[in-house]
């Protein structure tokens, strides 16, 4: 009987357009889906709706002037972006950084990691149909932003980490408030686990969905929590330590397939939860050990590096963020190229979305945690 129906009904593939205005594409991404019924046959991403010409601006600006533009790439993790950029410039300049500055940078980068992960987890919940966790994560993120505001006056885009130092020292109350936050935040991770992580509906939506095998991930260059979710222990903070990360103790959580298969959406989500706890560990050590000292001793008046190239990379909340700078000895760089983690992570999307249902697209996109400002630059 079914055979007769199948032979008579002629079905066509359907093209479904998602975005650029869609609540779950995390910005202005456009995905073109080819569907066989509800099943995805092909998923093409179309980028560039937020292409703000970052690399052209770099060629027209001096080195310190670029820092505000760097902020505006991954706007959820501006501090980490600044850190990556100034490391690349400092590598060209070969200057010695005061120890207090290194500590401040690590503290800021780790706070930023928690803040960025909170947005990622909250909006992931939103995508899969849970509205409440979003409000909870934004409540906690707001507290981190208050700390940043205390430090440099800005909530989102800071222009705080400068070449050779930071713009100014920490507020006298900062250490105390930061420690209070850590004490406040520890139980909140447990709360988030109860709200979302072990929620039956959430697990149904994310476990065994969008499985990313480790070999494919490495071949595509995927990095960060998306790679670690597939069970690969790869973290730039450990593999290629920058700043003073080799002085701290922390673990690198990897996906173990607790809810389904290793490398599924739930694993990528859970790695972020575990990473927040590790960030708290680093923060505690850094806040205890931070030395007194000058924070702007090494800030050069005119940044004029030698002829040459330099590539510096940091572990951004989204993955490996790299800056490749070509200098021809002038006040402006000759060419700056960014290795945006989201750009690379998104390129694997069409590969892992194949064969899933339409509703799984938002789960996969949410678990990759993309930021369009960085993808399109």
């Amino acid at each position: 009987m079914t055979n007769i129906i199948e032979s008579k009904l002629k079905t066509d593939e359907m093209v479904l357009n998602m975005g650029p205005q869609h609540p779950s594409t995390h910005g202005v991404l456009r995905v073109e889906l080819k569907l066989d019924g509800e099943k995805i046959v092909k998923a093409d991403s179309h980028l560039g709706y937020l292409h703000r010409c970052f690399e052209k601006h770099c060629e027209a600006m001096t080195y310190p002037q670029i820092i505000p533009y760097v902020d505006r790439m991954d706007y959820l993790a501006a501090m980490s972006n600044e850190l990556g950029y100034v490391l690349a410039v400092e590598k060209l300049l070969k200057i010695e950084i005061p120890e207090r500055v290194e500590y401040i940078r690590v503290i800021m980068a780790e706070f930023q990691r928690i803040a960025s992960h909170l947005v990622a987890l909250g909006t992931f919940g939103l995508d899969t149909g849970a509205f409440t966790p979003f409000l909870y994560t934004f409540r906690d993120r707001e507290k981190i932003l208050t700390l940043f505001e205390l430090t440099c006056g800005a909530r989102l885009l800071y222009n705080y980490i400068w070449v050779g130092g930071v713009s100014h020292d920490l507020h006298p109350d900062f250490i105390r408030l930061a420690k209070e936050f850590i004490e406040y935040f520890r139980p909140k991770v447990v709360e988030l686990n109860e709200l979302l992580t072990y929620n039956k509906i959430f697990i149904e939506r994310t476990a065994n969905i969008g499985v990313l095998p480790p070999e494919l991930a490495i071949n595509y260059g995927v990095s960060g929590p998306s790679l670690r979710g597939s069970g690969v222990k790869w973290d730039i903070r450990r593999e290629d330590p920058y700043s003073i990360y080799d002085m701290f103790e922390f673990d690198i959580p990897v996906g173990e397939g607790l809810a389904g298969t290793t490398g599924d959406c739930w694993d990528r989500y859970y790695v972020r939860i575990l990473e927040m706890e590790q960030s708290l560990r680093i923060l505690e050590q850094a806040l205890d050990q931070i030395p007194e000292g000058d924070v702007s001793a090494a800030v050069p008046k005119r940044v004029k590096p030698i002829d040459g190239i330099s590539y510096a990379r940091v572990e951004n909340p989204k993955g490996e963020l790299g800056y490749f700078i070509i200098s021809k000895g002038g006040l402006q760089p000759f060419r700056v190229k960014v290795r945006p983690p989201s750009f690379v992570n998104l390129s694997v999307f069409s590969e892992i979305a194949k064969g899933h249902m339409v509703a799984d697209v938002v789960a996969i996109l949410g678990s990759l945690d993309i930021v369009l400002g960085e993808i399109d630059r």
């Binding site: 980028l47 560039g48 292409h51 010409c53 690399e55 052209k56 590598k91 060209l92 070969k94 490495i218 071949n219 595509y220 260059g221 995927v222 690969v232 790869w234 593999e239 030698i306 002829d307 040459g308 190239i309 330099s310 590539y311 990379r313 490996e320 790299g322 490749f324 070509i326 200098s327 000759f334 060419r335 190229k337 290795r339 750009f343 690379v344 390129s347 694997v348 399109d376 630059r377």
Partner: protein, 176 residues
């Protein structure tokens, strides 16, 4: 883990023509220069040779070298002719933990470079971007089209040093 000298030695023994492969120091970094037609062979070798095992392409960068002949126009803008466009490849082995930078140059008038998209699939979008912004044509790429700029953009490749912005695009004024 292998040092840069060891890596260069292995490559030189494999591809023994002198003019095709050489080293070069740019600032603090060592770079291996490779003739453009050989890049695909070298890439396949680097990835598949067990003692090298470069399984990950970190970054692919297209650069306009601005070394051609400059002719200045009346309004201060300039045109370039001759010279080269370059491509940098940052490679890494996640298992053996060594890194390498390759560089290749193609002439500006005929910027064709073999694609490595089938070796490292992550280079697919990087190559599309280099094509879009610099205008390097990657031979053998499965889908070489614009990626960041609109598909109907017909005013050239914006990251070329002699790029001139149009006055209007689709009825919208572009300059401030």
């Amino acid at each position: 883990m292998k040092t840069f000298e060891e890596l260069f030695e292995i490559l030189k023994n494999k591809f023994n023509e002198e003019e095709d492969i050489s080293t070069h120091k740019e600032g603090n970094e060592d770079v291996i220069l490779i003739a453009a037609p050989k890049i695909n062979l070298v890439a396949t070798f680097l990835k598949n040779e067990p003692e090298l095992n470069f399984d990950s392409l970190i970054l692919l960068t297209g650069v306009d070298d601005e070394n051609g002949e400059k002719t200045t126009n009346e309004d201060g803008s300039f045109d370039l002719s001759g010279g080269t466009l370059s491509v940098y490849y940052h490679l890494e082995s996640t298992s053996l933990k060594h890194k390498l930078i390759l560089k290749t140059s193609v002439p500006r008038e005929n910027p064709v470079c073999p694609s490595v998209a089938l070796v490292w699939r992550g280079s697919d979008w990087h190559e599309r971007e280099a094509y879009d912004l610099i205008g390097i044509i990657f031979d053998g790429h499965p889908n070489l089209s614009r990626i960041l700029m609109p598909y109907d953009w017909e005013f050239g490749h914006p990251l070329r040093k002699d790029y001139k912005n149009p006055e209007f695009y689709n009825g919208m004024k572009v300059p401030y």
